[in-house]
């Protein structure tokens, strides 16, 4: 990975944010969205999408979602995940399995927690550098709440997000909580 990749990514997204969001609104929303972060740096791709997140009505997925078993596709944070759950592969809901690397960038969903009825921004980060995890078919998910086509890449879950790591080979996907959506 070279610096030019991050430079180009940052420039593109900064420009996109500048075009679409007022500065006051962007600072206020990005501030609240960045309350909780993982140990990884949040790249602009995440901040940009989080800032645009709107409160969501209750979807079919929301109505059926459960909050007890993160190794199932209907776990509430998995409302827009496409791939194999890392919790089925030796990792966890925000943990990559041994020997893999978390992707520096991710796609973003907004999911409703059935316990507190609040919506949260979720970073769907891929774990990379090993071939596809061989887990139970029950762990292969493809949910679609607020999932947009690849021409809106920040909200698309078909992309292999292993950009920028030492290997772009996909292994599994995590669903790290970023913060409460407004």
């Amino acid at each position: 990975m070279t610096e030019s990749f991050f430079d180009r990514l940052g420039e593109k997204l900064t420009r996109k944010m500048a075009q679409g969001i007022s500065r006051r609104s962007m600072i206020a929303k990005a501030g609240s969205a960045a309350v909780v972060t993982s140990s990884l740096p949040l790249l602009p791709v995440q901040r940009a999408q989080a800032a645009q997140t709107q409160p969501a009505a209750v979807s079919d997925f929301d109505r059926r979602a459960q909050s007890t078993d993160p190794t199932k596709c209907d776990y509430w944070r998995h409302c827009a995940i496409d791939g194999v759950l890392c919790g089925c592969c030796g990792g966890g809901v925000h943990t990559c399995p041994p020997g893999t690397q978390p992707s520096p960038v991710s796609w973003i969903g907004t999911c409703r927690n059935p316990v507190d009825n609040r919506s949260y921004v979720i970073a769907y980060r891929d774990c990379c550098g090993r071939t596809l995890c061989n887990s139970s078919p029950d762990c292969h998910c493809n949910t679609e709440d607020r999932e947009l086509p690849v021409y809106r890449p920040q909200a698309n879950n078909d992309i292999i997000w292993c950009f920028g790591g030492s290997s772009a080979v996909y292994h599994c996907s995590t669903a790290a909580l970023v913060g409460q959506a407004e």
Binding site: V45, A57, V105, T131, L132, E144, E147, P149, R152, I160
Partner: protein, 383 residues
């Protein structure tokens, strides 16, 4: 063993060994064989190319269900069958040491009769994204191939297929996918609801235009798997809710007013409510078209908005010129992929969620086969 038993046994063995010589058996002795390799006949209209497991495209004869051959293809691959049906192109990505090492992005040309890999071309890094035809396509005369790149900046690599060389890479910021024109260019869908249109001259130079927005990427996005009719340079852009917009592609695309799949079937147009139950399109390859009569086949299910990847329980056949429903076809198994042969006695194919390939005769409406083949997220038919 007693002496008597030994004598009888020896006699039986002797008779058994000598009897072929004694009997006048007319059956000739089987001859040694030479190992050889099969070749395929000219590609039939009813051949079908589903992606199977995570390793291959398996070629089936839709008329009898026989496997005809295999083309290697990982989940990252895309393929195009050329209009002459003599060449098959695969775009593929691999690493020198399986999960690490040097990355190789390649365009591979296969001979459609021998299935031999004829030549390979190194490409700039392709988009690593769920399979769909719109990641890689060619123009109608087969001069140019267009390959979608995402690094994550968006671009398209233009390949001269005759010279078999990369002509150039064209940046398409904020846009994605390729919808080929009749010749000399392609259009891409953009996040602001517009099209970016790229003309590629015979000298390889590219010129880019932008259309006005004609859909809302936030409100009701156009499916990535919208259809392109190469021979005419037309596209059929279809939104998550089921609105169809025909477009004639070029430097200045002409986009016709939207019509609703549901209204064509005598139902209210579906909206975008997350609690609004309606018949809706869905799947990983939710649309196909018979280009001889321009009938659209859409995988449909009952659901709310945000069910755009949900498997269809029916295929709706729609006349895109009259904007009316022709018929609804019940599927034996919910399906995520629909495809159709391009002859005038068409077969409909559907990849079931359970890995089955369903083959339906559209003249009789009969399900010819429903067989487990580990069918995946995409199926291609000969043009």
């Amino acid at each position: 063993m007693t002496g008597w038993f030994r004598r009888v046994s020896a006699m039986v063995v002797s008779v058994a060994v000598s009897s072929p010589v004694l009997a006048a058996d007319p059956t000739p002795v089987l001859q040694a064989e030479q190992s050889d390799v099969a070749q395929l006949p000219a590609m039939g209209a009813h051949w079908v190319f589903p992606y199977t497991k995570t390793t291959a495209i398996t070629i089936y004869d839709g008329d009898n269900g026989h496997v005809l051959g295999t083309i290697p293809a990982t989940p990252l691959a895309n393929n195009v069958i050329m209009p002459d049906r003599r060449r098959i192109y695969i775009t593929e990505t691999s690493w020198s040491l399986v999960d690490h090492g040097d990355r190789h992005d390649m365009l591979q040309q296969f001979d459609a009769r021998t299935l031999e890999r004829v030549r390979e071309l190194a490409l700039p890094p392709r988009a690593l994204v769920g399979r769909k035809q719109q990641n890689f396509d060619v123009d109608a005369n087969g001069k140019f191939g267009f390959i979608f790149d995402l690094s994550p900046a968006s671009a398209v690599t233009v390949v001269d297929l005759s010279a078999f060389r990369v002509v150039r890479t064209v940046d398409i910021p904020g846009c994605a996918l390729v919808f080929p024109w009749q010749s000399g260019g392609f259009s891409s869908l953009c996040g602001d609801g517009s099209l970016t249109n790229v003309a590629v001259g015979t000298d390889g130079k590219a010129s880019v235009t932008h259309s006005k927005p004609f859909f809302s990427a936030d409100g009701d996005p156009v499916y990535e798997q919208s259809l392109a009719e190469r021979a005419k340079g037309d596209a059929y852009f279809i939104t998550y809710s089921g609105k169809v917009m025909k477009a004639h592609l070029g430097p200045q695309p002409v986009i016709e007013p939207a019509w609703s799949i549901q209204q064509a079937a005598g139902q209210p147009a579906a909206g975008t409510g997350v609690q609004e139950l309606a018949w809706r399109p869905g799947g990983t390859q939710p649309f196909a078209m018979s280009y001889y009569n321009h009938h659209l086949f859409a995988l449909m299910h009952t659901g709310t908005y945000w069910t755009h990847k949900t498997a269809g329980t029916e295929v709706w056949e729609l006349d895109t010129q009259a904007h009316r429903l022709v018929r609804r076809i019940d599927l034996p198994t919910p399906a995520k992929v629909v495809a159709v042969s391009q002859d005038q006695k068409p077969l409909l194919y559907a990849n079931g969620e359970n890995g089955n390939l369903m083959v339906i005769d559209l003249q009789s409406g009969k399900v010819l086969r429903n067989t487990h083949i580990d069918a995946g997220a995409m199926t291609v038919t000969p043009p």
